[in-house]
């Protein structure tokens, strides 16, 4: 993973957030390719292509038109093909209910969108540099929500 550039996907209906996201990765100096989708339908269409290169990391906004982040998460977790994909929830709200639900559905981490660009960079860098192979085994609810 370290040698090749990391393939990152983001599904978020908010244009500004997509901008912050891509700009943050540009400034992070991590070899990465970032693709963004406006909603869940477009994301799933992309993933379900037979010849599609699967991402290492998928960032999912929860509140999206047409297909919500939760629905995408459910579909992805049902597909054996996507089992190695690390899924990060990337949402404005951090309600107990959303955290609980996405944790149960099998997301790897929950990020509450920060209100400072510096914090955003810090959060994304932490997620990308985490060794998920190791982290997955000790996954628990206490460290599910990323604390900055």
């Amino acid at each position: 993973m370290q040698n090749n550039s990391i393939k990152i996907l983001l599904a978020d209906d908010d244009e500004d957030d997509r901008l912050f996201f891509t700009e943050a990765f540009e400034e992070l100096k991590i070899k990465s390719s970032v693709s963004t989708f406006k909603n869940g339908v477009l994301l799933m269409e992309y993933l379900n292509q037979a010849n599609c290169v699967l991402p290492d990391l998928l960032f999912l906004d929860l509140n999206m038109p047409k297909k919500s982040g939760i629905e995408c998460l459910k579909e992805i977790k049902q597909e054996q093909r996507f089992k190695d994909m690390v899924i990060a929830i990337y949402s404005t709200s951090a309600s107990e209910e959303d955290i609980e639900k996405t944790f149960v559905l099998g997301a790897n981490i929950y990020i509450k969108k920060p209100n400072d660009f510096g914090k955003l960079k810090k959060a994304l860098s932490e997620v990308v540099t985490t060794n998920w192979q190791y982290q997955t085994n000790s996954l628990n609810k206490e460290n599910f929500l990323l604390r900055l």
């Binding site: 500004d16 957030d17 509140n63 709200s93 969108k113 209100n115 400072d116 510096g118």
Partner: protein
């Protein structure tokens, strides 16, 4: 009461039976007594008859003797007729005596010897008469016959004497016996009579007492009936009785009034009653009434009636089986007019629905505040941080100052939104109280304020706390806010010191708890040495958005203490503030020992 009456009733039955038996006995005694008297009279009569007959016999013998002597002396043949008649009479006397003494063997024996003596006497009489007729008056035969005859006469008299004295003896003995028996009889009769009278008296006393009790009970019953009928009017219910065996009904006055009719203005039949029942409920009620008669029980049933003026009333009925001492089966029931309750219930239902709607709107508002309002703000803040990082070098000093102002305003808006959200999320409904170690909660609250504590070198001392039933995250928020306030409003030149004390208090002994419902409360006081406040603001500081200082003096939204108040309301507890300017303030919270 009922038992005593039953007991008395049994006693009366017994007394009556006993009295009857005693009177029968008295009758028996009297009859026997009379019989005895009659017997003794007959016996006396018999004795006299025997004695008279014996005397008559003696007289007749003597008369016969005299007649013979008269004939011998006068030779008048008419005397010989007397003589013959005397002999016949003697024979009759003997015959009568034989009959009279038939039942007495001894007297029969005596009579036999008497008979023999009389026979000899009569023989000597006829000897002397023969001697006289043949003229042998001076012959020795006549003389000896005459003397022997006289001798026999005295033995006859002796025999008669024996018989008479024997008869007297018998009479005397029997009299003595019957007198003895008869003398006891009156005493027995008298005492038995007294006993009967006593029994009658006791029975009378009991009946009298029972009658009095019955009268008293009757009066009470009447009063109870009156008050029951009054209470029926007040509480709007009527009562009815169903005689199950013949399916007849009795309705109370107020049942008629509930139907909108004059008391007892129509016959109390189920058919008449059914004419008032709402058409939609007739079937249901009829089925229930039929079941009621069969099963002898009426469960709660709700139905409507329509009064003659068209008013619809809601009724509720209930009945229970009752069997009286005579084995008569009844169903006693109550029918209540619950129209007002139904209406009130409907109003409450409507209000509940409205409240629920309001609550839903509120949570929708919460969502808007938490999500949609935060989103643009978050972006403003992020863009500001972008500008700060990348573009500040292109800005003039004034431009930088404006940027700083914009950032501060955005930060403040963030604070306000967060606090408001915190306030609206502090609800009771979705939180559960659990036994919580307050020491841990307090430690966590300290950690949240750690930055300020370190910065101001503040010291915090506190007592050991027990486990208390609370909503943990809310009490943690309470401590965070109270510690935060104590640290924020510290005096500039004095190191902040916060002292937290705990004690359990009885509501009666704490002046702040006089109107609180529970008996015991946990009292936690948080005392600081900060700037304090005027006591007159002690209540005001808990109201939403209320602040005692301007924003440039101390930051804050005026929501923190309102959250504390709300948290204590959720716990059915109390929060009280005491302040003295320049000396410090004390916040005291009371948490009920039993949190329901």
């Amino acid at each position: 009461m009922k038992n005593t009456v039953t007991y008395n009733y049994r006693f009366l039955k017994l007394a009556f039976g006993l009295d009857l038996f005693i009177i029968l006995c008295i009758g028996g005694f009297s009859y026997k007594h009379t019989q005895d008297l009659k017997k003794s009279v007959e016996l006396t009569k018999h004795t006299y008859e025997v004695n008279i007959e014996l005397k008559d016999l003696l007289t007749n013998i003597k008369k016969t003797e005299i007649s013979e002597r008269d004939f011998i002396i006068s030779d008048d043949s008419s005397f010989i007729d007397n003589y013959n008649r005397g002999r016949i009479k003697i024979a009759e006397n003997l015959k009568n005596l034989d009959v009279l003494t038939q039942d007495n063997a001894l007297q029969q024996t005596n009579l036999d010897s008497l008979n023999k003596a009389i026979g000899q006497r009569l023989f000597y009489l006829s000897e002397t008469l023969e001697d006289y007729k043949s003229g042998n008056l001076n012959s020795p035969g006549f003389k000896s016959s005459f003397e022997l005859g006289n001798l026999k006469m005295s033995s006859i008299e002796k025999e008669v004497e024996i018989m008479m004295s024997h008869e007297d003896n018998i009479l005397y003995e029997r009299k003595k016996q019957s007198e003895k028996a008869l003398s006891r009889t009156p005493i027995i009769l008298y005492s038995v009579l007294i006993l009967t009278l006593l029994l009658l008296l006791v029975a009378y006393a009991i009946i009298n007492r029972d009658l009095k009790a019955f009268k008293h009970t009757n009066e009470k019953l009447n009063m109870f009936k009156e008050s029951a009928s009054l209470s029926e009017i007040v509480s709007r219910h009527g009562s009815w009785t169903c005689h199950i065996d013949d399916e007849t009904y009795e309705f109370s006055d107020n049942l008629y009034r509930i139907l909108g009719e004059e008391p007892q203005s129509f016959e109390s039949t189920i058919e008449n009653f059914m004419t008032f029942v709402h058409k939609e409920d007739v079937e249901k009620l009829t089925a229930q009434v039929e079941r009621m008669v069969v099963e002898q029980n009426l469960p709660f049933i709700y139905y409507r009636i329509i009064r003659k003026d068209g008013e619809i009333r809601h009724l509720k009925a209930y009945g229970e089986a009752y069997t009286n001492d005579d084995g008569e089966n009844k169903l006693i029931g109550t029918t209540a007019d619950i129209t007002d309750e139904v209406h009130n219930f409907q109003i409450i239902e409507e209000r509940n629905e409205e409240l629920e709607r309001n609550n839903k709107e509120l949570s929708a508002f919460n969502y808007v505040a938490s999500h949609d309002l935060q989103e643009p703000l978050r972006k403003i803040q992020t863009f500001i941080s972008r500008l700060d990082d990348k573009e500040s070098k292109n800005l003039s000093e004034k431009g930088k100052m404006y940027m700083d102002r914009i950032r501060k305003a955005a930060d403040r808006m963030r604070l306000l939104i967060d606090d408001l959200l915190q306030f609206s999320r502090t609800n009771r409904a979705d939180s559960v109280a659990e036994l919580t170690d307050i020491n841990i909660i307090l430690e966590e609250a300290k950690q949240e304020n750690l930055e300020v504590i370190v910065e101001k070198k503040a010291t915090i001392t506190y007592d050991e706390f027990p486990e208390i039933a609370v909503i943990p995250f809310q009490i943690k928020q309470l401590f965070i806010n109270l510690l935060g306030n104590a640290l924020k409003y510290s005096k500039e030149d004095v190191t902040p010191h916060i002292n937290i004390t705990y004690e359990k208090v009885a509501a009666k002994k704490d002046v702040n708890l006089h109107y609180m419902p529970e008996n015991f409360y946990h009292k936690i006081s948080i005392k600081d040495n900060g700037i304090g406040f005027e006591q007159e603001y002690a209540k005001k500081i808990f109201t939403l958005f209320n602040r005692l200082h301007s924003r440039d003096e101390y930051s804050g939204t005026g929501i923190g203490l309102s959250i504390c108040k709300k948290i204590m309301d959720n716990h059915n507890g109390l929060i009280i503030a005491h302040g003295k300017p320049n000396e410090g303030s004390t916040f005291t919270v009371y948490i009920p020992e039993q949190l329901s």
